[in-house]
Symmetry: D4
């Protein structure tokens, strides 16, 4: 995309339709829009074929609304992650057309139904009840990105029969997201059961020696299953993002 | 696969061709072979559609040869990783049919040419010369697993024009493996350039505050590019494994 | 237990009383019950001979009540741990038959008196006053699990005569739980005084270089007494669980 | 300065204008002023040619006002950093002549306009919107210290074209301050684009494996760009201080 | 034991058979023997009912022989752990009656056959081939301490069917030792399969983010199975010691 | 002391004034008093010649009052540390005779004036204003323990002339307590200036890479001055305790 | 520089002297040269005005010689860092024109005398004798980059008078490099003495709690002197690089 | 001392016997001697009343001999620490008058007998045989510094009766050095037994979770005994240094 735009620009230069300085200017400034507090990459959606996503944590309602407005002006759907329930009312007042889901902490501006573009199913499997918020984020993002999702909850490895009972659902998925806190062993067992990529999401669930997710993170990075890759602690969004890319291949 | 075998076994039981105890026995013992020191999972290859791989570090030549022999008896190709040059002669004496490559530290027993089964290309991109051993492992494994590979070396982010010049190769790949030590920033920049999954491999290259790859690992886990997942430090093999699964989708 | 159930099921298949698909279904789904947010392992109590325990921290009152309800429907006693005093009223409103103890943060639904099943006594010994909440959790769980418990408080090693004075009580126990924060040296000294297993519980008590229990945890893991094993920081429940299993041998 | 004062003092002693004991006294006590809670270094401003700065975090309004008063009595401008908006009213009540800016958390007592003493421009570049508070601190301090500042916001490396578009501004600066959280890769890319010193400021922005800025800090310390030095996490002030010294050379 | 000795001593004092000073002397010095470099606790064997064990790592052959000699003089069997093969010849020259086993790195002076004192079986289960040295230490110590041992090797959780096939052996044990490196998930799965105490031994096997056993250690400490306790990294001896105490109950 | 008591007791046994069992009882229980939540070591004051101290953090007002009451009943003065201002009123209501000082967070029950028992002066020197609370704790404890104290505030090493000016006071002290956060360099410089023991107290003052006092702690432990020993982060009390013992020699 | 080249290229396009595709090609590939194992950035020297530097650690003699050859072909001087004495002979055999210095571990190919381009002096100050190798690297690099250097050795802060005696040399420098291991306090004291930028280099000198340079690194990052920035542990080269850039301003 | 020299110098200036510049020169340069690689602080011995000590690790035999020569020229005794047996012959060849002791790794040049200057006894107590090298360093240094030393070896807390038996020796000491690795609990128990300062020395003895002495270090820093201060891991020298200063009070 960028390369074609660049080639077109160079052709314009060659035909004398635009001079070098102006070309330079356009060359640099095309693929984003500046607002007072952000330089928004409006072309990323086109490049990746996905709506732009705003990481909501640590941004004020005004900052989020400013960025969302610029994206909406470019007629793009907008997904905001990590909107805690306390922050939602102020944001909904500024963005009345938005749809907010407290369980996944996602705020969405776009069509109510998203066309399914993924070629298969994404399975999201979690170890315990406390991992649900991260799983809901992954599920919500994956659905907004046009994927069919199968959810399997509370199948931690200390009762491995619960997981084995879900074997068919896992094996039928095109890609699996495995969400677990504490010792984070779920992706290793899941990885041994399926022949698809497994994206492991460590969660900050646990206490003491789980150190806010470090135990789970290290466990997943050192998994003895070879088909496991890892994203950041609690990063349900990132897992869904990569799963979407894989599911479109 | 397993489920079908299980169903067949249950049908045999139902038809009275095998009694419950024997079924129980077969049910449990089918998918592996016991050697004195290992319980070898001979069906993993079938399940994942990939040759069995032996992690060579920390195993004696005798242990490796014992496992390889069991796998060869099952007529499977065998790939041994992390065979340092000093260990190769003893291993080649025990496994004379094997092919050893010092740069990737891989030992291979199987057909000289592997049929290409991957649907696209895997790009392997590295930040610096010192990251090459890990990259060679990823490349060697990916090729033995039936993938076309494009290699782009020495394009660290402190000279970002070198990376941009490789943009076309990157964008044409179906999946990208980005290998980097020190600050590990390469996957973030690569992730912004392509719309495919990027598998980040931190390396133990560096000194001081790189802490044997921790700096790169943390950098990759906290990447601001959403299409990045991470494997263990120096785990070129794991990256190639997952890339293969993705490339076959 | 499971194996017998499995054998019975296979026998039913052999006799044609159930077909393979149905058997497969039952095989997978027997030992748990699904609620909207959890897959409850109702058979664990049977397998381990202990009531099911709900880790209360990080779960909403509704989630706890939902799980407790499913367990009660299976006529099992229920023990909920880590119920802080602030969370108790909402929970008691949903589970009016429950009994709550603020010191141990335990909520119990079941018989007021539990039959003693343990063959000897469990001694619970603590280093300081600030370790009491963890000790109370261990004591409360051990009693609800049918053990006689002896408590010895505030016998930290900087006044070792206080501990020596309790030597008889310690030596008469079948298993000892040693609870300590700060430098966590208590289990080492206790371990030298008794010839029974000592379960060490590091607590998050302390400040500065105790790093929320890390100093005590490391101290216990590297204890020079050979009869010491360790559980997670503040995990009074886990210590009581294992002590119960040992006390029933 | 000090040396000259010392030489003058020794000359006085030599000429008998002051005796040894008194000289000793003056020698020790000259370059600071004692208040009840602080020993204020009133000569640092002279030595470094910069106003004295009070680190506001962890000090009470009374303590800050006491120190500021002593400095004002010495006719020096005063800059207080890390004054959170909640703390400002109490401080402004005590120091009514002060000027407070919430975005940079800076409180200033001195001339409204500061003469430009820096020989060139300081560029302040940030990776994301959440890094803005640290950037505003750096910008505010640099301006109060007499520098021209160019600000470039939200040009993180996952959309590297946004950064490249700002190349001219960066290259025209005499020194660059690069502010980034998460993986902290911005200074590496900036360092490759410019031939000036780059002062990297890791921020505590991020979650999970960013560990409150550690990931960014390690990434910057291990940067593959050789023209990068690093200051403490969130230390916008320190970066501006050093940039000012460099800009006056 | 000690208490009885103390009571006897006090009785002697009461009867005037020994004066206070001499009593004091004996009171303090009874339960150990001094050699030039060690104060050997010869009564620990009596107290714990187990032979004295010398931790061989970091001691010279002379030091080990000195301590072993004192113990032999007290007619106790002696077990030396962590005797690497390189150190064995020098030690065997000094202790010609000793029996050395290279796989377990154990040196034994005592009866060739040890009477079985344990009431049941100790199962030792390992995740991978590289964990074998630690498992052999646990097995060797357990056997020398008078236990029947069942060994189950190479049943890591990424091929969970291998572990399930060993279910009967596991369930028949009185206590289980689970040895695993890398992510250390084995004890969690084993803990869910059995209703006995599981002693988890993290090993230093792995690379990168396994950090010499930290990943496995943290995973085991945060295990979601409640019947798991943990010993130090690579501490096969300690696990066997505690398992022995439990197996004698 | 204890030894004499023990000898006296043994003499009583010898003379038949007390039988062995009773002696055993007294032998064990003499040097402490049990309250419901604590086993108070009432003899420590006698052994160390210092009042008993209660660490107030993490204890309820009731617990503190219970312990203080038992100590008062033994006619000992009582010092409670870490009583934050919010906790003081409840405590003063229970202990109306107590004297509370908010700056040092110390609560004292005992004579208003303590006799000076220390043979020289203890100098307490601090790096910055934010270190004052820890310094005040050290000063208050040292005075209540009967020492003369000289305080030198705000003499951090970045303005080393401020410290040099206090050289005489430092050199005249019998022992020096050096309190510093951030890089914790003060004890190294002080250690070079004096020929007395320097007790270094790292404080949690700082941000970012000070990691709650770790930077200061490591700096002090690795001090290039040989006369420096270190106590826990923020442990002003411990420093004063040891300084008192030294000052009485 | 790049921008001018880009503008010239665009002008060529505009004048029709080169077509868009060829321009695209040249645009991307200009500023580096590919060798089998490296993509060498030959323009960095031009951009930064400094010779290209090869980090020698972890590269084979062949790899270094290959890169050096490409750079020499571009008629650039070459500096190789971290060439340990053991590696030098093989390298000198391949690069006979090179000059090797064991103390600084630097290998140089270029003019024996480098013209002085720096406007002032760089002072290199070290805390202890063991820090000398890092200091020699900094000095050697700074001289090869065209700077006058003043060296001040062994002036650690525990004997601060040694440092004060060097005050004039320090104050006359344009930029100071402070090298220290252990507690790393030297830059703080130096920073208070001079009004110039201080580049702090932590070294891995020390033992125990210096943790290979972490103590010094953290101490420097949290320095109470505001004019200090930090580079990686043992990174004498990086400090000299930035000092050179500053000294040319 | 310094102060008197300074006063004398100022008097010389006042009397005109020396001019200001020369005074300045002498003022700065008096208390050290420069050799090519070191700035030796020859007055520290005078200031502290102790021989100068050279930390031998990481210095070449030539460097040590150079420094020792300068100190000998000043007629001071010299003590070199951390001289491993392999390094001793080369050093003894350069310093033939030196006396070397392999157990303590100390090299001494000075009188064979050192006069006892300490007022009491220093007790050195160790937990295990492997801690002996550190204890020998402490003992050797303390004796060379003029102290009487009592050594108590191998009295770790897992057999606390061994320690109690040494109670008299401990209580008679003026200061105690407690040396321990692993969990480092010894100083806590010792601290409770004596009313003197206890200097705790963590050692790097141990494996796994002892992390090279970190477990012991943290345990000692968080000791529940108030009379404990801590030095760096394995720093027997530093403990003896401080103990000497205390013993001379």
């Amino acid at each position: 995309m960028e390369r074609e735009a660049l080639r077109a620009l160079l052709e314009q230069v060659r035909r004398g339709e635009i001079d070098a300085d102006a070309a330079l200017e356009r060359l640099a400034r095309l693929p984003f829009v500046d607002t007072p507090n952000a330089r928004i990459d409006t072309h990323r959606a086109l490049r990746h074929g996905l709506p732009e996503v705003i990481f909501g944590a640590g941004k004020s309602a005004d900052q989020i609304a400013e960025i969302a407005g610029a994206l909406r002006a470019a007629e793009q759907p907008v997904l905001v992650t990590r909107v805690v329930p306390e922050a939602a009312p102020a944001l909904l007042a500024l963005l009345p057309e938005a749809d907010y889901d407290a369980a996944s902490r996602l705020l969405w501006i776009g069509p109510a139904e998203v066309a399914v573009l993924g070629r298969g199913t994404i399975a999201v499997v979690t170890a315990g009840t406390a991992d649900l918020p991260v799983a809901y984020e992954a599920i919500g993002v994956a659905r907004r990105f046009g994927n069919k999702v199968e959810a399997i909850f509370d199948v931690g490895v200390a009762g491995v029969h619960r997981l084995l009972a879900a074997g068919d659902t896992l094996r039928e998925a095109r890609v699996v997201i495995a969400v677990a806190g504490m010792e984070g062993a779920l992706p290793s067992v899941v990885g041994g059961l399926v022949d698809r990529p497994v994206i492991a999401v460590p969660t900050s669930v646990g206490y003491g020696a789980s150190f806010g997710g470090i135990a789970a993170l290290l466990g997943m990075l050192t998994s003895c299953a070879s088909n496991v890759t890892v994203v950041n602690i609690d990063n349900g969004f990132g897992a869904a993002y990569v799963a979407t890319l894989i599911n479109r291949l």
